[in-house]
Every structure is written in structure tokens, then in C-alpha cells.
């Protein structure tokens, strides 16, 4: 016998199910009067520093059909590369930027949309700079455990080229699944759950 480690196991994940909106975006689900507004609907205000951008996209299943019952959350640094989090020890992030957004995919079109700012660069563990990126978390009916991925910016070719996370992708042809092309101030990021264009998901 040896001493027990006395560690607990993480609670097992279960799918968010088809009615995730009731819990996480009740106003979107037409359950009014319980919360004044849905959390995560607004990330910026008039005073937020940084370049205003829009991120839109869809989540597509193995047949290419967009999910109309998914929920996306994003998490990103501010314009200076700082996170609005107590675990951020490098300085204080922009108090006018939450860094966190939540959006259900549209029940008819399957599209999600975030009004945010372009994040600054955040250091990797060894001090090298990561390219600007946004962390995505996707849940839905049929997804048994939330999927983590990252969106990188199509107009940041140089930074993407030296990003230590992108450098870890063995099959280089898949890197493009993480890079959102820019049109005007809008980036389009479609997430493919399966198939030839399957998005890279991370075990973080």
C-alpha cells in the first residue's frame, strides 16, 4: 500500500442539450423578466481601447448543415494583450473590455456574431509571443463535452507564422481551419465539427 493522493475527479461532462438557451441566454429563449439581460451579450463599450471588429460564423455538422442550437463562448485578451481576469499577473486589463462573450447560434440561420476588439499578443509559456487569437468554446445537443478551439486572424500572416501553438500542428494543411479571413472589419470563422475541413480542437 502507498499513501492515497486524496485527489478528486472532475465532474463528468454531459451535453448542454437542446434547451441550453433556457439556462444561459433566457432572454434569447423568450423567458423574460428573470435576468435584466443575457450574460456575455456585450463585450465592449464606448471607451474600450482597440480596433473594433465583428466576428461571425457558423458551426457545421458532418453533412455541412449549420447547428441552430449551439452556444458559443469566446475569451480573449484586450488590445494590449492582457486578460480581464484575477489570474492575470502582468498588469490590469482594460476595465472597459470584458474579454468574454456568449452567443447562441441563430435558430434560423445558425449564425453567431460577436462585436469585439482585436486582441493584442499574449506571451507563450517560454516568453515567445503568440499571434493574436480568440479562444472559442462550443457546446450543443450532441456534443458530449465542450469543444475548445482558437480563432486566428487572416491579416496577421507574420504573427501567425511565428505562433508557437500553430507551429505544433503536424498536418500543416489543417492550420487554415483556425484562421479567419477578413472582409472589411469582419472576420468569418466557420467551425467544422467533422469532415475534410474539420476544425482543430484542443485538449487544453
Amino acid at each position: 500500500m502507498v499513501q492515497p493522493l486524496n485527489q478528486l475527479k472532475e465532474s463528468a461532462s454531459q451535453t448542454a442539450g437542446p434547451y441550453v438557451h433556457i439556462g444561459l441566454t433566457p432572454n434569447f429563449a423568450e423567458i423574460g423578466g428573470v435576468y435584466p439581460q443575457d450574460l456575455g451579450t456585450s463585450m465592449v463599450n464606448d471607451k474600450t481601447k482597440g480596433e473594433r471588429i465583428t466576428v461571425v460564423g457558423r458551426v457545421l455538422d458532418g453533412t455541412g448543415t449549420p447547428l441552430k442550437d449551439a452556444l458559443i463562448e469566446i475569451w480573449q485578451a484586450d488590445a494590449d494583450g492582457l486578460y480581464n481576469s484575477p489570474s492575470e499577473m502582468r498588469g490590469s486589463a482594460d476595465a472597459n473590455f470584458t474579454g468574454w462573450g456568449r452567443c447562441p447560434t441563430d435558430m434560423d440561420t445558425g449564425e453567431f456574431r460577436f462585436e469585439t476588439i482585436k486582441p493584442g499578443r499574449v506571451p507563450f509559456k517560454d516568453g515567445r509571443k503568440q499571434a493574436p487569437h480568440i479562444t472559442f468554446w462550443v457546446v450543443a445537443r450532441g456534443i458530449n463535452i465542450g469543444l475548445h478551439t482558437r480563432m486566428y486572424f487572416g491579416d496577421e500572416e507574420k504573427a501567425n507564422g511565428e505562433d508557437p501553438v500553430l507551429a505544433r500542428v503536424e498536418h500543416r494543411v489543417r492550420v487554415s481551419t483556425l484562421i479567419a479571413p477578413r472582409e472589411g472589419s469582419t472576420y468569418r470563422f466557420d467551425i467544422h465539427l467533422q469532415g475534410e475541413k474539420e476544425t482543430i480542437f484542443f485538449d487544453i
Binding site: G17, S85, G127, R168
Partner: protein, 251 residues
Amino acid sequence: MSDSQISNRKPETGAFFQRDREWHPQAYTPWYKTSVLRSPQKALLSLDNTLSEITGPVFGHNILGELDNDLITNFAKPGEMAIGPRIIVYGRVLDERGKGVPGALLEFWQANAGGRYRHRKEGYVAPLDPNFGGCGRTITDEEGNYSFRTIQPGPYPWPNGVNDWRPAHIHFSLFGHGFAQRLITQMYFEGDSLIWKCPIVKTINDRAAIEGLTAALDMNATIPMDSRAYKFDMVLRGRRSTLFENRMEGN
């Protein structure tokens, strides 16, 4: 969004313990049919946490309304209440090291006592309860404790097999202190025989993991002549210690 109420603790900055992907459900579980076309088929790319995963949003108690943790009244007309068996759900949010997680935002949602959800895409014949919305939220205290009041949800049939029923359950969404801890799960009720027949429960391979999602009836926490109580603890990923880690200067 940063919460002054938890800032008297030194924030932790370590990476999170690796997730045990065999303990959690696999993505592809064909007996839960919807997972077939929604499951990634390529290997996940393992990424030791960077700042992007170690940090995460934290929510202050100032977002909470007075009735947010009372599903019996938070959607009801003044003076009225939701119909169904009255229960209190309470417990702690811990991490894998056994430490309480303070300031964790919990959001929960459920069907009404008849097993019916208040949702545009829901078509079950059981009626809506005009006084029940089905959502609530709370934030854990300094020791990781939480509680809320609701009615016990009913089981309901769902289109998968021709006669599949969900056991009574409450959905939970949890935020810890880092985005890598983000978790959605479900709470089941002790003694419900539908648990072991449910294709969604069976996406989990490990019996102990399922038992870990099953709340215990706690007669000592009931309110006599009013509500029964169920105890439900939840565990989020633990953090590695940073004590002996080599860190780049200024990092």
C-alpha cells in the same frame, strides 16, 4: 467583471491538471444519435495551458438578483409559486485538489414538474406551468458553497430511440477561475431507475463518474413541512503548483 469579493485570496496562476478523457464521455457515442454527426473525428491537439487558458472571466455577486436562486418564484406572478415537489439543492464546488472554489458562477436550467421545458422548440404534451421559467443562477461563497430552491423536474421522453426517457435532471453550467475549467454537466436524483437506462447518461463509461453526478437525498437539510433537500457537490479541474517552475523573467 473582476470581483473584489474574492480578491483577498492570492489568485492562482498554475496550469490545470490534464483532463481525463476516459472519465468524461467520448465525443462519438452512436447510441446517442445526435452525437454521430457532431463529434470531431480527428485527435484533439494537446496544449499545455498558456495564459489564454489559465485565465478566465470571474463574475461578481453584483450581477445576481434577489430571486436568481429561487426557481419557485423567479418567474412566478406576484404571490404565486411554481407547481411541483419543492426541493433545495445545495453543495460545494471543489477542485480536484479538494479545495473549495469561491466565486464560481453556476447557472442551472430544467424542465418543470411535468417534464416540460419552456422553449420554442419543445413539443412534449405535458403542459407549461405559467409560474415556472426554469432558469436560475448563483455564485459560490468563500468556501465554495452554494444552494438554490426549485421544484423537482419530471422525467421526459425525447426523440432518439422510439421510447427513450431522460431521468429527472437539472443542467448545470460552471465557471471556475480559468477558461480551461469551463464545464457543463447534469445532476441526477438518487433512486431514479431511469438513470441507468438513459443513452445520454450512458455516454459516460465509468459507473463512478455517473454516481458522481447523482445527488443524494439529505433528510437533515430538509425544511420540515416545506422542502426536501438534495446534496450535489461538483468538481472542477485542479491547478498545478507553480512553486518550482522555471519562468521566463517578466512572465
